[in-house]
């Protein structure tokens, strides 16, 4: 306990001394986020320094082992760090698929060389990763993927197409699911490989979303040569890695929906937009009731995320529970944005102009619609809960 108190004090002091002032306010728009990587254009020196300082301490990945560049913190310490960062409204120094998804998978399935090579640049935000899972014919039924990977003796040769690859045009490397065996059953012929997006034969084509933005791409592989040491785990057994990575992705997606409730209250937004009665209560009573329900659920969900982590740490976590967090967190986030739109009335519809910050809210609202699709749809999560947690029987194939 005393150790934790000391850690808290030291953390507080360090953050006070090192977190730049401009990094101590909430991100205003998505474009304030720092993604790092070879081609990233920093918005400011402060943003660059903040990443550098946090990366050096390993605090962009606080709980990863020190030997791979992480912070080496215990769960309790990492909670304290989070709290202390929240105390001064410090921005996350880095957004990273490497930290959220690839890292945990490499820590579990990667070779020692792979961990040493790939993890530290992730922590420091030097290499930005993208996820090559979905294909035009393989969405929910991911295991039916067809991107081919052939053994050419001293290297692999990859041919095929991915789709919905988020930030493929900005990423430096890709973690990619490929078919290495066409004879085996569909789950047993998939491998997990890593390669540089600058490799010859890789090309990307951005897709415009309903929000008007283009964060994701079609990604094409045309005779891409991949070094053999870039295979993670065992050949043809990539599905286990893919699934493990998905549990982390799902917790992350569900979590980012839920954690919004910890910060600025929906009710506060509504009160400032629509006004309150003498008691300080939102005048629109029907909206107040809806918001109260969403906030109650939001808080209970936040507590559930915390409990899931505590239980995992205590050794009785369930992997499939990430499906519950993903399902609930994303549906909740969609509800949150619906209410945000309702609270702001006509002004929520403004698509362009400075007042609306170029339609930030309606674009963000539209973006949330993808939360219950990306990383496996809500329906797929409910299938997984039914089967893996509740043990309900498989549907009969007719």
């Amino acid at each position: 306990m005393a150790d934790l108190e000391q850690f808290q004090q030291e953390t507080r002091d360090w953050l006070e001394a090192n977190c730049p002032k401009t990094m101590r306010k909430p991100m205003r728009t998505e474009s304030d986020a720092c993604w790092g990587g070879r081609n990233f254009e920093f918005k400011s020196d402060d943003q660059r320094n903040w990443l550098k300082l946090m990366g050096e301490k390993g605090w962009t990945a606080p709980e990863w082992p020190k030997e791979y560049g992480g912070g080496g913190l215990s769960r309790e310490q990492s909670k304290i760090l989070k709290k202390e960062m929240a105390r001064i409204s410090a921005r996350p120094p880095l957004q990273s698929f490497g930290i959220w998804m690839l890292g945990p998978a490499l820590l579990k399935f990667g070779s020692e060389e792979q961990k040493k090579e790939y993890l530290p640049p992730i922590v420091r935000g030097e290499i930005r990763w993208c996820q090559g899972y979905s294909e035009p014919g393989a969405g929910s039924d991911l295991a039916s993927l067809q991107t081919r990977c052939e053994d050419k003796g001293d290297h692999y040769l990859v041919n095929g197409q991915k789709v919905w690859t988020s930030y493929a045009d900005k990423a430096d490397w890709i973690f990619c699911l490929v078919r290495t065996n066409r004879e085996a059953r569909k789950h047993l012929g998939i491998s997990f490989v890593l390669f540089d997006m600058a490799s010859k034969g890789v090309s990307t084509k951005p897709i415009t979303l309903i929000s008007g933005k283009s964060p994701f791409c079609e990604t094409f592989f045309d005779d891409v040569k991949v070094p053999k040491e870039n295979l993670v785990g065992t050949l043809d057994r990539g599905w286990d890695i893919a699934k493990y990575l998905l549990t982390h992705e799902r917790e992350m997606i569900g979590g980012s929906g839920g954690s919004a409730f910890a910060s600025r209250g929906l009710g506060e937004v509504a009160v400032s937009a629509l006004g309150a009665d003498d008691d300080g209560q939102l005048s629109d009573t029907a909206l107040r009731a809806k918001i109260a329900t969403a906030e109650l659920d939001g808080w209970a969900f936040l507590l559930t995320m915390e409990r899931a982590k505590d239980e995992a740490k205590a050794g009785h976590g369930v992997g499939a529970r990430s499906s519950m967090l993903k399902y609930y967190g994303t549906e909740l986030n969609k509800r949150r944005f619906e209410l945000m739109m309702a609270s702001k009335g006509m002004s929520a519809l403004e698509w362009e102009g400075e007042a609306s910050n170029e339609g930030e809210l309606p674009r963000a609202w539209l973006r949330t619609k993808g939360n219950s699709i990306e990383g496996g749809t809500s329906e797929v999560q409910l299938n997984i809960i039914s089967k893996r947690i509740l043990g309900l029987p498989d549907p009969k194939v007719v």
Binding site: G265, A292, L296, W299, A300, T304, I389, P393
Partner: protein, 378 residues
């Protein structure tokens, strides 16, 4: 603090599980209901529970209690919820003892040892109308020399029939609806002028209405400060709400488990009904909701242990969320069972009835959502 149970708390749960399975399962409740018992619980069994330490689980050690904490009490209530066990645990052991923390030494000496041994039960006489709203109390406490004279009535007192004492919320000042001006009195049930009558609700438990007709109490019967009754009551209300939330968590978990067993057992159209995706998705949704309820209940217990006075927001969260989800669990329970779910012979209906009452007691969803909203500033 990690949102997991400690080993000691798990032990309390395990012993409650074993004890209740043997002595106070649903079939015991059903028998009592069928017998039309007005007390609604068994004195002999309550003494046995007291011997296990339950009656004093929240009482300080110097009065014979265990002072074990709210999380442990909530775990017992959760198990009681699974079994539909009836006892004065919630009313007397969780709520009344909590009020007595603010009582005078004489009041404590007079009541706590008897309560801890299972001999005496104290009920809280708070509400007068059909919705929980202590501030709207009108029962008058008129100053009379050193003491007071009580006139008025209370309704739906939990375990109020045949109780040994009452904690009565009375108005010493102000008007119905005022937060101030209410005072709490600890009154012996034998005091002249009190008459009670049993009120039968759908959950077959013990409720009573009480009339106070010129009941004379002394200044020493006042708990805490005159006019500050709601403050004195707040920790007990929080405890009761967390307790009910835990009980509903247990009851809904039981509904859910029964439903899942049935989905894996019952066949229609040549397959287990649990293989129908329409039912799977509803089940998976309910599972998710129950996980949220458990998190809220654990957190509420921990918050209460940290500060009984300041646990109101999360207590409201737990009460609101658990009630809403419990209703869903009971409704789905009946629906998924089909015709059998509608029969009195099946236990599902018993759970549905208890849940309906528990979610209404000490404030329903709208009451607690409103409180929560206020705390959140809207």
């Amino acid at each position: 603090m990690a949102l997991v149970y400690t080993e000691e708390q798990e032990m309390v749960r395990d012993s409650a599980k074993g004890f209740l399975a043997e002595k106070a399962s649903v079939s015991v409740f059903r028998k009592m209901r069928d017998a039309g018992d007005t007390l609604g619980w068994s004195r002999a069994l309550w003494v046995e529970m007291a011997e296990m330490g339950w009656a004093g689980i929240l009482v300080e050690e110097q009065y014979g209690g265990l002072d074990f904490g709210m999380t442990g009490a909530a775990l017992i209530l959760e198990e009681m919820g699974k079994n539909l066990t009836t006892s004065p645990f919630l009313s007397s052991a969780v709520m009344a003892t909590q009020v007595l923390r603010g009582a005078s030494e004489a009041q404590k000496q007079a009541w706590l040892p008897k309560m801890v041994s299972g001999e005496a039960v104290i009920a809280l006489a708070l509400d007068e109308g059909v919705k929980h709203d202590p501030a709207s109390s009108q029962l008058q406490a008129e100053k009379l020399g050193n003491g007071y004279r009580l006139n008025g009535s209370k309704a739906y007192i939990i375990d109020g029939f045949d109780a040994d004492g009452y904690l009565v919320l009375a108005r010493t000042d102000g008007e119905a609806g005022d937060q101030d001006g209410l005072s709490l009195f600890l009154v012996d049930a034998k005091a002249k002028g009190i008459s009670t009558s049993s009120t039968k609700l759908l959950d077959s438990r013990n409720y009573a209405g009480a009339k106070f007709d010129n009941v004379e109490v002394s200044g020493g019967d006042l708990i805490g400060e005159a006019g500050k009754g709601l403050d004195a009551l707040e920790p007990a209300l929080n405890a009761g709400r967390i307790g009910l939330a835990a009980e509903m968590l247990g009851a809904s978990a039981q509904c859910f488990e029964t439903s899942m067993e049935y989905l894996k057992d019952r066949s229609q159209f040549g397959q287990k009904i649990g293989s129908f995706q329409g039912l799977q998705h509803r089940s998976a949704h309910l599972y998710s909701e129950l996980e949220l309820v458990r998190s809220a209940v654990i957190k509420a217990g921990q918050d209460f242990e940290a500060s009984a006075e300041h646990s109101g927001m999360i207590a409201s969260l737990a009460k609101a969320k658990s009630g809403e989800v419990a209703i869903l669990a009971a409704n789905e329970g009946v629906q998924l069972l089909g015709g059998i779910g509608m029969t009195d012979e099946h236990d599902m209906g018993l759970y549905m009835k208890r849940i309906r009452a528990a979610q209404e007691l000490l404030g329903d969803y709208a009451f607690h959502a409103g409180r929560f909203a206020k705390w959140r500033g809207f």
